[in-house]
């Protein structure tokens, strides 16, 4: 009887919970993830990334590491993540450049341009909670997993490019080897093993913060508490899960 099973499960959990709290509560105080045992449960997680814009030094290590980790083509047209440099001139004009996605570093600002302020903004797939790309996919090849990551099923994608058009953040591209859509996966193969995404791992200034929404032990929680949080293109109503802190109003 399913009803009995539920009660049995509930009782088992009811007994386990204080035991687990006793075992892990002392050793790993404040670290909720340590208490997780057994196979990966996608529905227990909701991944998100924070980007502290005022820390980015534009070294491009993240974009390079992303290409290494995810076997992205090395040509400078295919990026799962990239860095943009914003230069806001005295007359209010905004220049945005991203030579090679920022992988080779940035040249000095052009001589003679009166720049009022300038900064780097790392960009990637925003892993929207209401993803326009998933909505338009005619075959169900791109989808939102239970842990909130938007993935592309490479063997099911027909390469129609609707999703490339639909993405307001320009995060998708067509891989010329497979002629299928490709994009940032938050390094899904890493995060489900408890590792950090490659870009977060190599970021030298902790510009990128990886964590989970609604989990107090997550470093993202601390970042959200300490700084003002913005998202890109909030008017699109996509509800991104890439959160920017101290973002300049000129960033689009």
């Amino acid at each position: 009887m399913p009803k009995d099973w539920k009660r049995r499960e509930f009782l088992a959990k009811f007994i386990k919970l204080p035991c687990a709290a006793m075992v892990f509560g002392v050793g790993a105080a404040g670290d909720g993830e340590a208490a997780e045992e057994g196979p990966y449960q996608a529905e227990d997680h909701l991944y998100a990334m924070g980007i502290q814009v005022d820390r980015c030094i534009g070294c491009g290590l993240c974009a390079e590491a992303c290409k290494n980790e995810n076997d992205v083509l090395k040509e400078p047209f295919f990026f799962r993540t990239w860095i943009e440099r914003y230069s806001i001139r005295v007359d209010g004009e905004v220049d945005v450049d991203s030579p090679g996605g920022g992988i080779g570093g940035f040249p000095p600002l052009a001589e003679g341009s009166e720049v009022m302020r300038s900064f780097f903004v790392p960009k990637l797939c925003n892993q929207c909670d209401k993803p326009p790309c998933v909505q338009v996919c005619p075959v169900g090849a791109t989808f939102k997993t239970e842990d909130g990551v938007i993935l592309v099923d490479e063997s099911y994608c027909i390469g129609c490019r609707y999703c490339v058009q639909a993405c307001p953040y320009g995060a998708r591209y067509i891989d010329p080897r497979t002629l299928t859509a490709d994009k940032c996966t938050f390094c899904y193969h890493r995060i489900i093993k408890g590792l950090q995404p490659a870009c977060v791992e190599v970021c030298p200034t902790q510009t990128r913060v990886f964590g989970e929404l609604g989990r107090r032990s997550s470093p993202l929680h601390r970042m959200k508490r300490q700084s003002s949080i913005q998202v890109l293109k909030p008017a699109m109503n996509t509800e991104p899960k890439v959160l920017y802190s101290n973002l300049d109003g000129e960033v689009r």
Partner: protein
């Protein structure tokens, strides 16, 4: 005729045509009821037959349904729709992708000595693989695969070279004037990159010479290599002058043909090159490649 009346006319015609058509549908039904009612009364009557066109249509519908089911089973992957409107196996495929970055925790399991030094330094939050490259292969097989060992200046300058867009306070250098010939590791330990105390022994007074020498091929030579200076030179510089090389053989220690030192130093035959002149009368030792 008013437009309203026209519409009423059309509607009444449509109703009439539907009702006449209904007769054809109703008639077999009446007959079927008649068959059953007469049967129950014990009267033998011919059983009403289903029209051929209906049978043909039914066969067509059954075939179409069968084809649809077969096509669905054949073309839609087994795991499609298990979790959502997608192939559940795609998650397993994504999870099975090869990793390349091991993560800092894996590195310090073996290299705990470097990990300890780094943990107390300015580079404490810098992951090992930021500089040494993706190294999971090294973790799996340390003998076979070695991570990148960084030499030269390009990688350090990628973060520490001056750019106006970088956040204020981040340590930056201007590459062209910050010891341009020296690799960064000459003065800085990347695992503990605290800026070294700059020795201001000679450059405190002879800064121009020190700066010139820093961009020359003689950047790595200390002043004492060529100039023997008494310690009193600091207190009274003119009373205790440092010595200069007075023989061609002094430069010949590196630049002579039989020299065993620095392989990169250009070699000359001292007996033929320069005649009776001393080396520094033609070559400026603090910037020997200058003209």
């Amino acid at each position: 005729m008013k437009p309203g009346e026209k519409w009423i006319g059309r509607c009444s015609r449509a109703v009439r045509s539907i009702s006449t058509n209904l007769v054809f549908i109703q008639e077999p039904l009446f007959r079927l009821i008649l068959v059953f009612s007469t049967n129950s009364l014990g009267m033998r009557m011919r059983i009403w037959k289903i029209p051929d066109q209906v049978i043909r249509l039914a066969i067509l519908i059954v075939i179409a349904l069968a084809v649809l089911i077969v096509v669905r089973l054949q073309f839609i992957p087994a795991s499609f729709g298990e979790i959502g409107h997608y192939r559940a196996d795609a998650l397993k495929e994504e999870a099975a992708l090869t990793l390349h970055y091991a993560g800092m925790q894996a590195c310090v399991m073996c290299h705990d000595d470097i990990g300890m030094i780094k943990a107390a330094s300015y580079h404490r939050n810098l992951a090992c693989e930021s500089c040494h490259g993706p190294s999971l292969e090294h973790v799996d097989d340390p003998g076979e695969f070695s991570p990148v060992v960084v030499t030269g200046r390009t990688l350090c300058v990628r973060c520490h070279g001056y750019l106006a867009s970088r956040p204020t306070g981040f340590p930056q250098i201007i590459e062209a004037i910050h010891n341009p010939m020296a690799p960064c590791t000459e003065c800085h330990d990347p695992h503990d990159p605290t800026p070294p105390e700059v020795p201001e022994d000679c450059s405190a007074c002879h800064a121009e010479i020190a700066r010139t020498k820093a961009v020359s091929h003689h950047w790595s030579l200390s002043c004492e290599t060529c100039h023997e200076a008494a310690p009193e030179h600091r207190q009274s510089p003119r009373a205790f002058l440092p010595k200069k090389p007075t023989e061609r053989e002094f430069c010949g220690q590196c630049h002579g043909q039989g020299s065993q030192r620095s392989a990169s130093a250009p070699r000359v035959d001292l007996s033929e090159h320069g005649g009776r002149y001393l080396c520094w009368q033609c070559h400026y030792p603090h910037h020997p490649e200058g003209r």
